[in-house]
Amino acid sequence: MTRPAAWKRSPLDAVHRRLGARMTTFGGWEMPLYYSSIVEEHHAVRRSVGLFDVSHMGEIEIRGPEALALVSFVTTNAPERLSDGQAQYSALLYPHGGFVDDILVHRVKRDHFFLCVNAANQEKDYEHIRAANRWNASVEFASERYAQLALQGPNAPAVLQKLTATDLSTVRYYRFVDGEVCGIAARIARTGYTGEDGFELYLAPDHATTVWDRLMDAGQAFQIRPCGLGARNTLRLEAKMALYGHEIDASTTPWEADLAWIVKMEKPEFLGRQALERQQRQGLRRKLAGFEMRGRGIGRDGYLVRAGGRPCGWVTSGGPSPTLGKNIGLCYLPPDLASPGRDIEVMIRGEPVPAITVPTPFYKRIQ
């Protein structure tokens, strides 16, 4: 396989090759697509536990007495409501209301916020935040200092607990602690992108291989599997988690993407607020909806959607759902068609194939 020098490689690259991973490129990185089988890796996460290398994700650190003011101004959610050790899903918007990125905001301390951002957007996000910094906050591009592992699945706590003195039962969903995993300093966050319980670990790249190997050993009793971006995508789609470049991008707003819950309009000022207010007044022209294929075929990313014989939208993400045994997807539709139970057609290689809009998420774990 030829590998353009421009593709960035994870600190775990040698591990993936040792495991025989099928590699793919994503967001400028060369990362594992799968090791054995996307479907088997998907089931491992739903039923037991899987380990992902997500070191392609970016990190930005914002510090200083005015850190909160800056984070609050550039994000749509309410970082002022976070306590130390708490994380929040949020968005960076352009003034016109479109997404710069969707991100996780972690409050480390009152004057220290840690952002996890998408691989392909990290430089853009950093510039965006810096340009908005009319306060005296320090903004650091920290991606090179972190590898990231995601241990996901119902048995993730049992596996990780073997390797850490931190009592994981005290780390609730969307909370994090700075602790140690097999003696190596790690930020242990109870977050994920799979719709399952689990943890995301941020640690120094030099230690990533050690922690990966120890987690794989600790997970043996639970049939842990290394998992690639293929399963990450099918898992997040079932849980209806947005993927930048698919459900969200510079041309979509949180209202359209069904992400109103991460927008706090009671905040007097944040980037994109005026545009969102205007769109609230004027109404939406499209809205994200879930669908299931009724006819034979798989509606995939970019496929045209019709209703009543007329083009009305497009698929943002679509594919087989290993958990449900159905072909599912997300699509943009006119708001009046975006409610569950509407008949639509997905154009598959020139043929209209029946589908129906359904409630989302497609999959929700039993708490």
């Binding site: 099928r22 697509l33 799968y34 479907v39 099918t234 075929g297």
Partner: protein, 129 residues
């Protein structure tokens, strides 16, 4: 001993055809299914469809990708492996056997001369198979 049967002929698009008299049984190769990963959907032509060598015959979809299947030879579709629509994963398990796709009545047996032998195909896909 190769995984590629000696009595099959192959295309550079990773289909195989077993020619017996005027009938060609068509499938995709071990290499093709391995490249695709978990196969979740198979779209095959209807009985009676006339297909032309090198033109799309149908498609195979894995979790991630859609891949066209091209007719290795021209002919009329006289049988379709219906079992694959309920169990497309068979294509990963037995691509050279039970998971054949269609049978064609050949209308130009001379076309077989343009196909690869098992040895040629093996060399084409390389050591990994």
């Amino acid at each position: 001993m190769s995984i590629y049967p000696e009595n099959y002929l192959y295309t550079k698009d990773h289909e195989w055809v077993l020619i017996q008299n005027d009938t060609g049984t068509v499938g995709i190769t071990y290499h093709a299914q391995r490249e695709l990963g978990d196969i979740v959907f198979v779209d095959l032509p209807k009985l009676g469809t006339v297909v032309e060598q090198g033109k799309p015959l149908g498609s195979v979809e894995s979790v991630k990708a859609v891949s066209d299947i091209y007719a290795p030879v021209s002919g009329e579709v006289i049988a379709v492996n219906e079992a694959l629509s309920a169990a497309p994963e068979k294509l990963n398990q037995d691509p050279h056997g039970a998971a054949w796709l269609v049978k064609l009545r050949l209308n130009n047996p001379e076309e077989a001369k343009s196909l690869l032998s098992a040895a040629d195909y093996r060399a084409y896909v390389g050591a990994e198979g």
